[in-house]
Subunit: 418 residues, 2 copies
């Protein structure tokens, strides 16, 4: 199906965008198309890439805040997650997809459980997603075997869907919840099958201290030392990376997802050293983290908080200017995942949004880029197209009322089971 | 004019709110009223109090970001402000009022120039405002005299409007732009006429260092030492307050407006010591600061960033929990300004908003308070009532299109004059 978006602003020019077979095929000419969207007064932006989330944790939004990470996990999240049924993940992911669409995200990198159900939700909602079954073995060989099998099964189910939009990924949780043997088994599978690997790295000081005490290495050094670190690794957080680790990540070509809102909310105490990592050439993107530790999936807000946090933490208001924050949230994430998205240009994937700037917080328009990063929230998004398909138009998404109702209902049941 | 809001949720109960003559007069009973609003499915919250802003700086939104404070002021803001005409302030304040209404703010504490024009804008838009003409003398007696006269004139014009909704305030800019003599003249006027005083205090380290070098005192100590500090002082920022200053502020009954977004964006390097100030009993509220250093007026975002920043900066995720952030943004600001707002209860001013929670980012509803602080943005506000008058219903505000157009036009002209 072809789509023509006519009279729309791209960068500083008003132009036409022709989409066919899921790609942007031409910019400029007014052609015939199956669907014509009037873009007058609107601005086209690449859809956001949320490089780290746990989408179905939307079900636990607001279920335990203002707690330290360990208390939050041990007393709230893990007990509630113990009740998670496959259908819960389906509805939680539907809810998250709905929120992502309404705030302009077209691609997300997810780690959670029952990922075949997440894939089913994503297939229906139309986003592009990289899905990894979270693997946690706690050093127990039996558990490791079961978890690897479960992940393998989820990935096979996802592959059987035969849609390029939904990509299976391997998801070892962290270095402190996954044994060396399991990490190496995952490395072997990734090498053999070409899967990306999605993990958490250097989120808390405790992780660094424990790793140093147990292995003599800092977390990224440890991953490098065991032969795990490579260009297919996408590591979330990186709050406590030191210069030696940045060097290792850059050399390996590993990617990092900066999650500023979650890091501040859980008080990780230090922030990802963006400037040093950019200098070293590490590919970076932005993630919201799961909606239970953020508590939303709005990438506009995450761009702003990323820019604010980098400026504040490094005591330099020039760090991470608006354009760089926007690039992290779009092209950076796309590069990390190896998808041709993140830019509005010919041959790129047709993953884009139309924004309506006729709003008080986006007036005046001295600098649109500043407005997107520092003034906007996701509600300025009017239209969302992913993979050449229209997912939202005039802020209406198919099935919204049913998703809100079902997700609220399964969320209530989940926490009342405890 | 009386208003009945029926079937609306207040705290955890569904009830009725009866408003008459600008106050909430009854909760619970279904009475006759001139206007009936169906509140079914909606939640009533007190309107936000923005305790520190420069509203008309909406005209400079996005005009110079990612700069240090001195460069930003000296190369961008001050040259552009040199061209400011009274009508610009009128349209800039209209634009800011529109944005505040659409994001749920009903009261703001403002400091800028040509405040009679700001007052005209506020009168038309219907918010409650505390307006101070900014006073800057740079140690020059002639300038001081002219500025005090200008402020006096603005305040007399505001008083001549005879509306309780708009209150004149005295606005000495900072201790480093206003001489001791002028500060004392302002103290005298405040004592005589009962005006509040709105100032900036302890925003940057340089302010503290310079004050120590020049007077031997830290900023709040200096204000106390010269006899300026009292319960009518509302000081914005307070990033670098030390325990001795907190003690002085608490003893004097002075108020502080925490402006986390602006502080992070301009990289002030340290954050207001909320926990120590709460412990000492200092009355605090939240401010967005001007929309040129934020760059929006959304108090939902400011509540979230306040909670995030306090947790991050003090390395404790339990600091400033959701309910406390919400109280700062409502009752705290109202107490600072001495208005009977900030709570939905009988005899309080009818300054309140209706929020529609049927949105993906506000689903599920494990904890509404968490949802307001951590998940919501201003666009969840459906209806705004201030002083017993409906300012927005179904997100429609009278005159919106004209305000956007005129404000954009004067903003373009302002920066093109340079």
């Amino acid at each position: 199906m072809s789509i023509l978006i006519k009279d729309v602003q791209v960068d500083r020019e008003v132009t036409q965008i022709l989409i066919d077979d899921g790609r942007i095929v031409e910019l400029g000419a007014k052609r015939e198309a199956d669907t014509v969207i009037d873009g007058k007064g609107k601005i086209a932006l690449p859809g956001f890439v949320n490089l780290h989330t746990h989408a179905a944790m939307s079900l636990f939004r607001g279920y335990g805040d203002d707690l330290d990470l360990a208390t939050w996990l041990e007393t709230r999240i893990w007990p509630a997650e113990a009740n998670l049924a496959p259908e819960d993940v389906y509805w939680g992911t539907k809810l998250a997809c709905l929120e992502m669409i309404k705030t302009g995200t077209t691609t997300f990198n997810d780690m959670y459980f029952h990922m075949d159900q997440a894939a089913k939700a994503v297939r229906e909602m139309g986003l592009r997603a990289f899905l990894s079954e979270g693997i946690v073995d706690l050093g127990e060989p039996d558990r490791a075997k079961a978890q690897l099998n479960r992940a393998d099964e989820a990935n096979r189910k996802i592959e059987a869907m035969k849609t390029g939009r939904i990509v299976p990924v391997l998801g070892p949780h962290t270095i402190y919840t996954v044994s060396k043997d399991t990490l190496l088994a995952i490395r072997e599978t990734a090498d053999k099958k070409g899967y990306l690997i999605h993990t958490h790295l250097s989120e808390t000081k405790r992780e660094v201290d424990d790793c140093l005490a147990q292995t003599g290495f800092r977390p990224a050094q440890y991953l490098d030392h065991i032969g795990f670190l490579a260009k297919d690794v996408i590591a979330a957080h990186g709050c406590w990376l030191d210069p030696s680790e940045i060097e290792l990540l850059a050399r390996a070509g590993a990617k990092v997802a900066h999650c500023p809102v979650s890091n501040m909310k859980l008080s990780t105490g230090q922030t990802m050293p963006y400037a040093a990592m950019a200098e070293a050439g590490v590919v970076m993107g932005l993630g919201t983290d799961g909606p239970a530790s953020n508590n939303n999936l709005d990438m506009f807000e995450t761009m702003k908080v990323a820019a604010l946090l980098q400026k504040y933490a490094h005591r330099d208001p020039k760090i991470l200017p608006a354009r760089s924050a926007f690039e992290l949230a779009t092209l950076g994430g796309a590069r990390a995942l190896g998808v041709d998205a993140g830019l509005i240009s010919v041959d790129r994937l047709a993953d884009l949004v139309l924004v309506d700037p006729r709003r008080p917080e986006l007036t005046p328009r001295h600098d649109d880029m500043s407005n997107w990063v520092y003034s906007a929230h996701g509600n300025c998004v009017d239209t969302v197209i992913c993979d050449g398909t229209i997912l939202m138009r005039g802020r209406r998404v198919k099935g919204e009322a049913e998703i809100l109702e079902k997700a609220a209902s399964v969320a209530r049941n989940l926490v009342s089971k405890e």
